[in-house]
């Protein structure tokens, strides 16, 4: 895997702070064109499975299951010449996957979301699956194989929402949050989400169906220092403090980033959540941002049980 373009420390810190990474037009045109042929069929295969009309026989003529079973190693889940198989082998995507969930992730599931032209339903805001405990996390790849113009059904998502402990669509009442985004971009763009990122299907005011392939991957190894950490050590100070000494270039600078929808008081708690996640990712139990964890841990150590 060493030849893969691994994520940088800046990208990892941004992922921890904001819960997503975006790779614009990273998938080649011919793979996107193949996806536009195959992905609707994958959606139909799921419908067949769901409805039970396949009578338990979902294998195609070659004996290859179009829907991999949960837990299938990613390497074995998709034929190398299939659309999903080619997408996950794009070097930038393969490197991002390896950096986030390791060299041997397994497929949780994939799904093809089709937002038909003129469908103006706004899905309720939600995070996928159920409320989960960290710090280990899954990733979800959102692959848009065709151009998506603004207001044409690009997924709505809320940067920085991934570490809030909520369950599924209990957040659906939030119709508008300052700083939220609606995806738009060029064909072949992949956005990788932390499992907890709030998102929703958006109205499609355009004249063509919007197709998006989503793939959830589970790690099978501790997600510790899997990215290109060559610049990490000098940037990983635990004593970078916004009211004391604060230096440019420190990881802490990204981890204290606020979002327009954050309450100031909760922003500080978000900083703590991010510092905890960074401790997991780096294996550095002493890492901190603005001393929030350190001061309380040191005080606690003073108290005799």
């Amino acid at each position: 895997m060493s030849e893969l373009p691994l994520l940088t420390t800046d990208q990892m810190a941004s992922f921890v702070a904001r819960g997503f990474l975006r790779f614009d037009a990273v998938v080649p045109d011919d793979v996107n064109a193949q996806a536009m042929e195959e992905l609707p069929g994958l959606f139909r295969a799921w419908l067949d499975e769901f409805r039970g009309v396949a009578s338990g026989h979902t294998d195609d003529a070659d004996g290859e299951a179009p829907l991999p079973r949960s837990g299938t190693p990613l390497h074995d889940a998709y034929a190398p010449d299939s659309a999903f198989g080619r997408m996950v082998r794009v070097p930038a995507i393969a490197g991002a996957i390896a950096s986030l969930v390791g060299a041997a992730p397994v497929v949780d599931h994939h799904f093809v979301h089709i937002k038909t032209a003129g469908d103006l339903h706004a899905q309720g805001l939600h995070c996928d699956a159920i409320v989960d405990q960290g710090p280990a996390f899954d990733i979800q790849l959102f692959w848009f194989p065709h151009d998506v113009a603004p207001r044409e059904g690009g997924t709505r998502f809320v940067p920085g929402s991934h570490l809030r402990r909520v369950n599924m669509d209990d957040v659906a009442r939030y119709h508008h949050l300052a700083g939220e985004q609606y995806f738009s971009g060029d064909a072949g763009t992949v956005v990788i989400f932390h499992q907890g990122l709030w998102h929703a299907g958006a109205p499609n005011h355009g004249s063509r169906d919007r197709v998006m392939g989503k793939l959830r991957l589970n790690p099978t190894q501790a997600q510790v220092r899997l990215w290109d950490t060559s610049d990490l050590a000098p940037r990983n100070r635990a004593d970078d403090h916004m009211f004391a000494r604060m230096e440019p270039g420190m990881v802490a600078a990204e981890l204290r980033r606020s979002e327009p929808w954050y309450e100031p008081s909760v922003h500080r708690l978000e900083t703590v959540q991010r510092a905890r996640l960074w401790r997991y990712l780096t294996g550095d139990a002493d890492f901190d941002v603005d001393w929030y964890l350190t001061r309380t841990e040191r005080r606690a150590a003073l108290v005799t049980p």
Binding site: Y174, H175, Y262, E263
Partner: protein, 89 residues
């Protein structure tokens, strides 16, 4: 003439009604026949909504953090619920 309720939810930056708007939702009992929100965000603060005629129904109580979960983050904390009654017909 019949009356219908419009409900406005605002999420504010602090527990104070005059703090800035972070998020908003409107649920419209007039099904579009009544006045609509026209700006993004619709108001700068919760008090601005009062000035525009919305009546405050409820605000989030201030609840001490649960021991052991003081640093957890979850739903937006400062939720304010408003209504206005619109006459139709």
């Amino acid at each position: 003439m019949s009356a219908r309720q419009q409900v406005l939810m605002l999420w504010l930056a602090s527990s104070a009604l005059d703090s800035r708007v972070l998020g908003w939702s409107m649920f419209d009992g007039t099904a579009g026949a009544g006045p609509q929100l026209t700006t993004d965000p619709p108001y700068g603060t919760g008090v601005d909504a009062l000035v525009d005629g919305w009546r405050l129904l409820q605000m989030s109580p201030l609840i001490p953090p649960t021991p052991g979960h003081e640093r957890d983050t979850s739903f937006l904390k400062h939720e304010f619920l408003f209504e206005r009654i619109i006459g139709l017909g």
